[in-house]
């Protein structure tokens, strides 16, 4: 049903994979990357959706796997909730073929979603079958992004089992940093997790009311993929089911595209957020002497 192995017309991200596909040379497996954090609500799913879109926009074939069984959300952020017919457990239990369960994105023909089961529980997923499923996806896709559930129990183990790389999402909060620290410990030496610091408010950091990027990473000491600011457009995009990375004109969208470029191996600097003094700040500092 899905002509996944056929070359598509968009520019391809990874020349090697492309060559392997067209010349019939030994197949290169795609990269399975788990997006995790430990703590809930730090933006794992938003990050997965946006990086998926950004990588697809670069021409790579991308599969997004929602591993949050029981609390399916990635379909909502992708705006694909009405198209989901089957889920990951249907595939694991061999009720449907993998190709039937993959939902094609509205915007990119090279972007697919494998939704989580909503009416099931995380313990019902068999870890070994999950590993096989991710490997099967790696045969078809350049990138397999796995949206990990919060917590460090079975759901975490199942999300991590097939991945070779990990991206940890952290917000500048004590609890989030602590949980990332724990998750990094659990990931162990098999991974060199890369860090995305999400929801940074440069204004608060400037005032000393929020942990700075340096504060966070002086503790975590992880390779930094990039920093995403806490902007209202993130909420708007969630409301609409249109990931921010569909656009290229906002600062947040640009940040996701730069992170995707870094994941793809481009040597570009990590996107940061910078404090810009607003008119109100200037007025305040003139009148009250406050910094």
């Amino acid at each position: 049903m899905l002509p996944l192995r056929q070359p598509f017309d968009v520019a391809h991200d990874d020349a090697q994979t492309n060559a392997a596909q067209t010349s019939g040379a030994p197949m290169t497996l795609g990269r399975a990357i788990v997006i995790t954090s430990g703590k809930g609500g730090v933006g794992k799913t938003t990050t997965t959706a946006n990086l998926g879109v950004a990588l697809a926009k670069r021409g790579a074939k991308v599969a997004l796997v929602d591993a949050d069984v029981g609390l399916r959300n990635l379909d909502i952020l992708m705006g694909l909730e009405s198209r989901v017919r089957h889920h990951v457990l249907d595939v694991l239990e061999e009720k449907v073929e993998l190709d039937e369960a993959l939902v094609r994105d509205k915007h990119f023909p090279n972007l697919f979603l494998l939704a989580a089961a909503q009416s099931r529980e995380k313990d019902e997923v068999d870890t070994e079958s999950m590993r096989d499923l991710i490997e099967e996806l790696r045969e078809q896709f350049d990138y397999v992004l796995i949206d990990c559930p919060a917590g460090i129990e079975m759901g975490f183990k199942n999300a991590v089992v097939g991945a070779q790389e990990a991206i940890v999402v952290c917000t500048p909060e004590v609890s989030a940093v602590r949980d990332v620290d724990r998750v990094v410990g659990l990931l162990g030496n098999a991974f060199t997790p890369k860090l995305i610091i999400n929801r940074v408010r440069p204004h608060l950091v400037h005032k000393g009311k929020m942990l700075s990027v340096e504060d966070v990473n002086s503790i975590l000491r992880l390779p930094l993929l990039g920093v995403i600011a806490d902007e209202p457009d993130v909420i708007v995009s969630t409301n609409k089911g249109e990931p921010l990375a569909l656009r290229t004109d906002t600062a947040t969208a640009k940040a996701y595209h730069t992170i995707a470029a870094r994941i793809a191996g481009e040597d570009v600097p990590a996107p940061m957020v910078e404090y810009k003094e607003t008119f109100i700040d200037k007025l305040g500092s003139l009148l009250g002497g406050r910094r």
């Binding site: 909060e173 004590v174 602590r178 929020m210 700075s212 504060d215 910094r291």
Partner: protein, 134 residues
């Protein structure tokens, strides 16, 4: 009320509270505690070494030793309760004799004729006599 509290209260009054610093400090402490609790082997080894060192000097009740880690205000501390049975043993320090603090060298002023001795006492006269060995 410590100086820090006063400073924080004043800062709050003037709207300059730097809670980011508080967050950083809390994080530092909680991670130390987490890392220790996740490394029980290391803690056991540390207890063992601690007992060994203390036992060189006094006899301790090994069964009743209690080592804990606690948050205390702004520090994370190791609290060791080591019941001592006796101190009647001759201390047997494993390393050489305790190091003496080296006396500061003073420049000798033998040319002075007014009879003033350097203020370091009798030890110095021995030192000044040293060159007369021959």
């Amino acid at each position: 009320m410590t100086f820090n509290d006063v400073f924080n209260n004043l800062s709050r009054l003037f709207g300059r509270e730097k809670s980011g610093e508080t967050a950083k400090e809390r994080l530092r402490l909680v991670l130390m505690s987490d890392h220790l609790s996740l490394a029980p082997d290391m803690v056991e080894a540390m207890k063992r070494d601690l007992v060994e060192v203390v036992s060189r000097y006094v006899e301790v009740d090994r069964d009743k030793i209690d080592v804990r880690f606690e948050h205390q205000d702004s520090v994370f501390a190791m609290l060791a309760n080591v019941p001592i049975i006796s101190v009647n043993r001759t201390p047997s320090p494993p390393v050489g004799p305790p190091r003496r603090r080296r006396r500061k060298k003073r420049s000798m002023q033998p040319a002075q004729q007014n009879g003033q001795m350097p203020p370091s006492g009798p030890g110095t006269s021995g030192a000044s006599a040293a060159p007369s060995f021959s």
